[in-house]
Subunit: 339 residues, 2 copies
């Protein structure tokens, strides 16, 4: 079968017996078209299987219809999920999203990424900013397309969107306090990450709020291995009756360490994580955790970016509330003695 050229506005116009501009109006849903004419044009469009040429459209409108997403290839659950959510939200907003996955957060690579996006004439950029360094780079960049930061340090003056990490950590800690725990340890993420810092701060704040001051801190790095090490230390020192891990992967490690030492969860020690990874519900025992609505983060970020592109003000509140998910790994503090 011969491959015909795609139909153009002009072809549709000829078939429908109108001018190309009328067709354009129908395609772009302008009003001031007689229903009868519109009907005729729409039939012609259907018959020719006409699709507007996006390149021509973008050219004449002086825009590219493209957004850039810069993220790092950390393999972490959060950033990857947000990337996905951003891609979906961008498409819903009528933009094409082009994701740039960096293998490091070094300034050079970051700059070249921004350069590459400039070459694509992106109208805006979303940076999934896990690292403080990345923030600095963005801040230092003058001119160019508007930039929205996601999930980094949300306290800055720039446009930023993200889950309220502090609130999530406080909710998790409050949940453990409500169960009667007073010795609540915390396993942190790497503290260069804004999220890790915020979760630690939330935990600390809530403890102070409750008048509890002596929570132990264990330094982790997001990995299950680091959670495992923290878990072993916790069993050795043997004071905490509850552990709040800064992410689910580390909580997995904690669970394994506790299990290995014969410490029962939640009878002897309660564990709460953060993220609600897909496996969380299938762990032994199912993990209590804090769920983040990445979909909402993606949508708001794109909203904020499109607003910036149009030169408008910040649209909706930029902090999104996380949700505590209680499962079997957290329970009332036991009266018995820890083994």
């Amino acid at each position: 079968m011969e491959r015909r050229r795609a139909a153009r506005l002009k072809d549709v116009a000829e078939l429908a017996g109108v001018s190309h501009q009328t067709v354009s109006r129908v395609v772009n849903r302008a009003d001031g078209i007689r229903p009868e004419t519109r009907e005729r044009v729409e039939q012609a469009i259907a018959r020719l299987d006409y699709h507007p040429n996006p390149a021509a459209r973008n050219l004449v409108r002086g825009r590219s219809g493209t957004l850039g997403i810069i993220t790092t290839d950390t393999g972490q659950f959060g950033p990857a999920s947000i990337q996905r959510a951003l891609e979906m939200a961008a498409r819903e907003a009528g933009y094409l999203a082009s994701s740039l996955v960096l293998s490091s957060v070094r300034r050079v690579e970051f700059d070249s990424a921004v350069e590459q996006l400039a070459r694509l004439a992106v109208e805006g950029i979303v940076v999934i900013a896990v690292h403080d360094d990345a923030l600095d780079v963005v801040r230092s960049r003058a001119g160019g397309p508007p930039v929205v930061l996601v999930e980094g340090d949300l306290s800055g003056s720039r446009r930023t969107v993200g889950v309220d990490q502090v609130a999530g950590a406080r909710a998790a800690t409050r949940h453990l306090l409500d169960l009667g725990h007073t010795e609540i340890a915390h396993v942190t993420g790497p503290l260069e990450w804004a999220e890790a810092k915020a979760r630690r701060d939330g935990w600390r704040l809530e403890l102070e709020h409750a008048g509890v001051t002596n929570g132990e801190v264990f330094a982790g790095d997001w990995s299950a291995a680091s959670g495992y090490r923290a878990g072993r230390l916790i069993t050795v020192r043997g004071r905490a009756t509850a552990v709040f891990a800064a992410n689910d992967q580390m909580a997995v490690g904690v669970l394994q360490a506790l299990h290995q030492e014969g410490v029962r969860v939640p009878e002897d020690v309660s564990v709460v994580g953060f993220d609600d990874i897909p496996e969380a519900a299938f762990l032994i025992p199912p993990l209590s955790t804090v769920r983040q609505d990445f979909r909402a983060v993606g949508q708001r970020a794109i909203e904020s970016l499109t607003a910036a592109i149009r030169g408008g003000p910040e649209p909706r509140p930029r902090l999104i509330d996380p949700e505590l998910v209680v499962r079997a790994s957290s329970g009332p503090v036991s009266r018995g003695v820890r083994p």
Copy 2:
């Protein structure tokens, strides 16, 4: 500061004192330009910070410069990794990749995705085809842009690219046979998935090749929970001295079940997974598994697609060899009796 319009070809031409066509030639690396002229033009480009307008370029060239990626939001490690790899490879090939993440593989949604990509005038589509159903939908589609299938059923006549799942499964099984195991159980993925089927077939083939016929099969669904259930059954029946799980998540479940029952890994039972998820090296014990080179898959898929767009033949072999990664979870069959 006033925001100037972006520089055009004409602006550069005027500044360099040449025609716009000469500038175009310099930009597009055409030869037949005097070095001196080229130098002058390049300086002008740098001074004006000129970037070609991709919309105008695509319009006149009659192409969109865009590829579509269709994937499903399964949250599985493999598909997500491949999506990333595809995005990177597409960009390296000079294309903009637009990813469509489907929440189901139902025909309707799939069709609307293809429709949406047609609207973007994508030049080609990569489908990360996990489900047999998805394959059918693609096969039924006539006309439109070329399509490359990734990681589905690789035996079809269409352009397909992927890791040789059968070879990977055979390597894993061979590894266990080499360690002296003869009772090797297999935990499958959901058998609607082409990968799950291929891994089971590879396991079976290698057993037959070695003259071992009595491997037990346990049906799983990729989740850690299903692996856990299989692990419990294995300890109850108590025959297998080795388990090959069709993915790492299920292997995690197996490990937990064995551990819980006091079965030592690898002393009593060896475990091998598939995927090499980031946690694999941090599990207890570190998990032997099969690593897939997703980067290579992405690159070959894009190569194949660009070849198809140009109407050329299939470029490189489309099957990629996986790599066995031996860690502590697999060891020689023990002479002692299982507890």
